[in-house]
């Protein structure tokens, strides 16, 4: 008997919930904002779906409704990816400097 792929994805989803919970459980309070911003940047992995939607059309139908939504989603997610990781880097650099001063 074959397992429906949906059940596979559901299992991955449920296990990921636990990973997220335990990984984030013991974080130093001062790192909460960088952690939030990295988590936010990682959630932009939705860009994978957006790229698939954007690339779906052939040369005649590049700008159909579906791919236009894809293009918009690509831009939104890209703002997040670049913004999120760069901002985290800036915050962490500050953290390091502060430590040296002490």
């Amino acid at each position: 008997m074959e397992i429906d792929p949906f059940i596979f994805r559901l299992s991955i989803f449920i296990l990921s919930i636990f990973i997220g919970y335990y990984v984030v459980w013991s974080v130093t309070p001062s790192l909460h904002t960088p952690l939030m911003s990295v988590t936010n940047a990682i959630s932009s992995v939705i860009i994978v779906g957006a790229i698939i939607a954007g690339l779906a059309g052939n040369s005649d139908t590049i700008f159909n409704t579906s791919s236009i939504f894809g293009f918009l989603a690509i831009s939104l997610a890209a703002i997040n990816i670049f913004g999120g990781f760069l901002v985290t880097q800036r915050m962490l650099a500050m953290y390091k400097k502060k430590k040296k001063d002490k």
Partner: protein
């Protein structure tokens, strides 16, 4: 063009890198390494997506342009923003992800073939469930993050807004989301 199995393995690698990124961010010593893992995972995920579709025609150029526009805006904001405004910046960024998730759900619903989910009007049940939950969660992320942004920015008062019948109303909204999702599913199946 990458085979489906090979790209799944690469996606798994980037998933593991994302977990390591979160883990790294939990202590100051490993935090910079964690951020690096996150960037690496994202680069792998995006590259593999391009390679697995293998469509490097006009659409590819348009996708790259939109990617660059978003990237430039994001990088510009990240460098310009004062350090004191970080929490509201993260909240603002997060609302964009919610909106992007809603857009992807719409795109997948309109063009399920691209995502290998069936054909329009005949989408697999599991995928429909994923789509409707994705759209609902994305929309909640969007509006919730905007409120968080406005509160942190001080445009909105930080004190909780309560009104009579709030909890029944919230319950009603949750039930309507479930009912609308279910009716969409039933409508599509029968």
């Amino acid at each position: 063009m990458l085979s489906a199995n090979l790209s799944a393995i690469f996606y798994l690698i980037s998933g593991v890198l994302f977990i390591l990124a979160l883990r790294g961010l939990s202590s100051p010593e490993t935090s910079r390494q964690g951020n690096f893992f996150g960037i690496l995972g994202m680069i792998i995920a995006i590259t593999v997506t391009f390679l697995s579709i293998g469509n490097f025609s006009t659409g590819f150029v348009v996708v790259l342009i939109f990617l660059l526009i978003g990237g430039l805006i994001g990088a510009f904001i990240a460098y310009k923003i004062p350090m004191t405004a970080m929490p509201e910046l993260v909240a603002g960024f997060h609302s964009l992800v919610g909106l992007a998730a809603v857009f992807v759900a719409i795109a997948a619903f309109l063009n399920p073939e691209a995502f290998n989910l069936g054909s329009p009007g005949n989408i697999k049940l599991g995928s429909l469930i994923e789509m409707s939950i994705g759209a609902a969660v994305g929309a909640i992320t969007f509006s919730g993050s905007i409120i968080a942004f406005l509160k942190l920015q001080g445009i909105m008062s930080g004190s909780p807004i309560t009104f009579k019948g709030q909890h029944p109303l919230n319950a009603l909204i949750l039930i309507s989301i479930i009912v609308i999702n279910l009716s969409t599913l039933l409508y599509t199946i029968f």
